[in-house]
Amino acid sequence: MRELIHQAFQLKELLILIGLGVLALLAEIFNFKKLLFPLVLTGLAAVIAVCVIDWTPQDTNRYFYTQMLNVNHYALGFTIVIMLVSIFWFLMSEKYFTDETNITDHFALILFALVGAFLMVSYSNMTMLFLGIETLSIPLYVLVGSKKNDLASNESAFKYFLMGSFASGFLLFGIALIYGVTGSFDLSQIAAFVAKSNGSLPPLFFVGGLLMLVGMSFKVSAAPFHFWAPDVYQGAPTVITAFMATVVKTAAFGAFFRLFWVAFNGAAAEWSHIMWVMAAATLLIGNITAVFQQHVKRLLAYSSIAHAGFMFMAILAMSKTAASAVLYYSVAYSLSSLCAFLVLYMVMQSRAGDDSIDSFNGLVKKKPLLAGSMTIALLSLSGIPPLAGFFAKYFIFVTALSQGFYWLVGIAILGSLIGVYYYFKIIIAMFFKAPQDESPINVPADQRALLVVLSLLILILGILPEMVIRLL
């Protein structure tokens, strides 16, 4: 017991996050709601600071809680990214937290979701993976439905919950089968089992891995398990959608990649054909379906599926560079998406929640800053140099080509082109079409600053991608 408490204090990242969550719950009782917002921001910044302090020059395995967590460079890198994006997300959603009732509950839910995200990127035991995913998902089921009087919000919460539980079931099944074959939940012991088997793995291992693949694909919304994403994204409150598209996606890919990198690396050939097809299908379905969307929120949902396809390629083409490619892609994609969602949020507020592409018409005349940031975000998402999104795709291409996935890269190129098509629909609407009405858009000063910071970050990450790439 004393040992456990002692260890709890060693892993400060988790301690701070849980502490913040508990604090948020207490805020309602002890009435310091006003203080909560700055407190949370400071807390998240502190997590980043702790991660930076914990960073050792050499990548070392630091195990915690009887080898349940392994906070190595990979975990720290992803944690920094997740916390950084969360800080920007909190700044963006300030209004969400001040307008609605039950503010403190929302704070606590988001913070506990972040605890789950931390566990998902630093687990070294499959039970911890499952716990992390559930800790992340359950708050989200609630948050998606947090517009209590809105039918769409309720519907999407229900859908998300149902689909999510299914996926968790698959995942658990898979974990059980893998445990049955290998006799362990520990990633490194599974890897040792794979290495020892010399390519003659029992069929049950294959089935277990496949079930886990299905479960994880649900979470990252890869085809053919992506159906929940557009409906849920559209129904959820916009800021929660932004959270799901950025933080949740990053955590899910962090977990997905870690599983296949550490545990199943030697057995990759077993299901590489299936993964190939899934990657190709995700790229094509996400991009092609996005073309037909008239609502920007739904369009961004499909685009997030398409980007999942790109990151999926890195999991298929497993290598050391693939890890940095996934990390870089997560940052680039999260920042660009967050910027796009922020502009969308502003535009939707001025137009009573209308998120059709037409509501962006003539935005450049009404608010050049919004149009400018949106353009940078969309150019980055479509992968135009020298923005971050381009380098993200570039690193994925390098990884995939170095492993010989030529055709998949061809499909990805096709996907990128289709992507340009629908992202540019919004750009054309902003710059070319006449505004539908003269309703003014109010952008508070702090949101303006946030937009500028995000746009600059997208550009700086593009000009100096090595900052992130060298981490892992």
Binding site: F397, L401, Y421, F431, E466
Partner: protein, 491 residues
């Protein structure tokens, strides 16, 4: 040092425009571009003094662990194309003085940003950097066409954007493929020398794949049949200055790409598969010329003639001999000067009469003899009359093509005859004959317009009579390239 200034000055200048007020923005942009031209002159001078001077090189570690660096240098070919860029941009800016675009500041900022990307393309010695600049050039021109273009511009510029991006992504994949085959002490590298070493070491089949991926990107940019369908609409629809940027400079990115990023890297594939590229180029020559003859709109006619001219340049370059490549380089400069001149003429006619429809014009010489004379001189340059710049380039090109295959030269040579047909016929219809209702009060050329056109005419004849400076600049690099190619084939 100088090369760094040439790249970053337009970028800085674009932001300096933010400080300039109102109508002054044109003049400031013009002054900035003149300074750039002046520094290019310095670069030329230093290159002439000592081709290996450090002033024309710049190196900065960018992503050293990935073998990607900010590595730029100017050899003779680089000096030549940077000269083309920095020479034409002042003319393009000057030609806009008589117009008033909405939000002029953004317009000139985009032109200067475009200039930065173009200079970068021509001096990059790192494959990755080349790709970045290549794509970077696309964004400003897309917005120039989208914001200031004509009717239906959203659809047309979009087609242009998707088309060129399609090609470039294949180029990116090809460059990465090659990069993964390089080996230097520090791992893979994008430096052109490493890529060249890796390329010539690859199997003939792999070389062919690389060749076609790269050629696709360049062929779309130039454009060459059958990848040209974006071009006429885009040229006609873009604002006059956008068209000049596209045809005068941007299409040279494609032909330049052939010389720097295909010929030295995969010589075997050029030898094996060059005939495909040459055939397509020759088809472009004939196709562009014939369609130009049938055009009723003057701007569209120039657009098609551009397809024919660039087809000849590409064919000559891929023929891979000294005359062909030198001719290609000289003709890139000449075509840039001539086509910008033609588009200025066309723009003047359009803004004076409101149309560029050939049949509704006529008799301009009677009311504006000065304008007609200058137009004639520029037309002569573009039909490659001896003593004009067009003649030097096309003569060398056909000569080079003849060494490659006589039949190709015979077909390609038709461009001169057909070019004379469509250019002189349209000149006759527009300038000579009876006045039409639209040209009745055609204003004579103004002083400001003379300031644009007369220097262009002087350049046309100067390089026609004395092409030596251009040839001298191109020669060492071209001879070395061809020599290496022939040695390789003998082996």
């Amino acid at each position: 040092m100088i090369v760094g200034f040439l790249i970053f000055w337009p970028l800085l200048a674009a932001f300096l425009l933010l400080l300039v007020k109102g109508e002054q923005v044109k003049k400031a942009a013009f002054a900035f571009s003149l300074l750039e031209l002046l520094v290019t002159g310095m670069a030329w001078y230093h290159y002439h003094q000592n081709p290996a001077t450090d002033l024309l090189k710049m190196y900065g570690a960018w992503m050293p662990s990935l073998g990607i660096n900010f590595d730029v240098a100017m050899d003779g070919i680089g000096v030549l194309l940077v000269f083309l860029t920095t020479l034409l941009v002042p003319f393009i800016i000057l030609s806009s003085f008589g117009k008033s675009y909405k939000t002029p500041r953004a317009f000139y900022m985009l032109i200067l940003l475009m200039q930065m990307a173009l200079v970068g393309v021509f001096v990059a010695m790192d494959g990755f950097l080349f790709y970045i600049f290549w794509e970077l050039a696309l964004i400003p021109i897309y917005f120039i066409c989208l914001l200031w273009g004509g009717e239906g511009r959203a659809r047309i510029t979009f087609k242009f954007f998707i088309y060129t991006l399609f090609g470039s992504l294949f180029m990116l994949a090809a460059l990465i493929y090659l990069y993964l085959h390089t080996s230097t002490p520090t791992g893979h590298s994008f430096h052109i020398d490493a890529l060249t070493a890796a390329g010539s070491g690859m199997s003939a089949q792999a070389q062919a794949v690389f060749f076609f991926c790269m050629f696709l990107a360049f062929a779309i940019k130039m454009p060459i049949f059958p990848f040209h369908t974006w071009q006429p609409d885009t040229y006609v629809n873009a604002p006059a200055q956008g068209t000049m940027l596209l045809s005068g400079i941007m299409l040279k990115m494609g032909t330049f790409g052939l010389i720097r990023w295909i010929l030295p890297i995969v010589p075997q594939a050029v030898h094996d598969w060059g005939f495909v590229a040459v055939s397509l180029s020759v088809i472009s020559i004939l196709y562009g010329s014939v369609l130009a003859i049938t055009q009723k709109d003057f701007k569209r006619l120039i657009a098609y003639s551009s397809i024919a001219h660039v087809g000849l340049i590409a064919a000559g370059i891929i023929a891979f001999n000294v005359q062909g490549i030198e001719g290609g380089l000289v003709q890139m400069i000449s075509h840039g000067i001539n086509v910008v001149g033609l588009f200025i003429i066309c723009d003047m006619i359009t803004s004076r009469t409101g149309t560029s429809d050939i049949s509704s014009l006529g008799g301009i010489r009677q009311v504006a003899p000065g304008f007609a004379l200058i137009a004639l001189l520029i037309v002569l340059g573009s039909v490659a009359l001896p003593l004009t710049n067009g003649f030097v380039g096309e003569f060398l090109l056909i000569n080079g093509l003849f060494q490659y295959k006589a039949a190709a030269a015979a077909l390609g040579g038709l461009t001169i005859i057909l070019g004379a047909v469509y250019m002189l016929r349209s000149y006759q219809k527009i300038m000579l004959g009876e006045k039409s209702a639209l040209t009745l009060n055609f204003p004579e050329i103004t002083f400001q317009e003379k300031m644009v056109l007369i220097p262009l005419v002087i350049l046309i004849f100067f390089f026609g009579i004395y092409p030596k400076p251009l040839l001298q600049l191109a020669e060492p690099a071209v001879t070395a390239l061809v020599h290496k190619y022939n040695m390789g084939l003998m082996k």
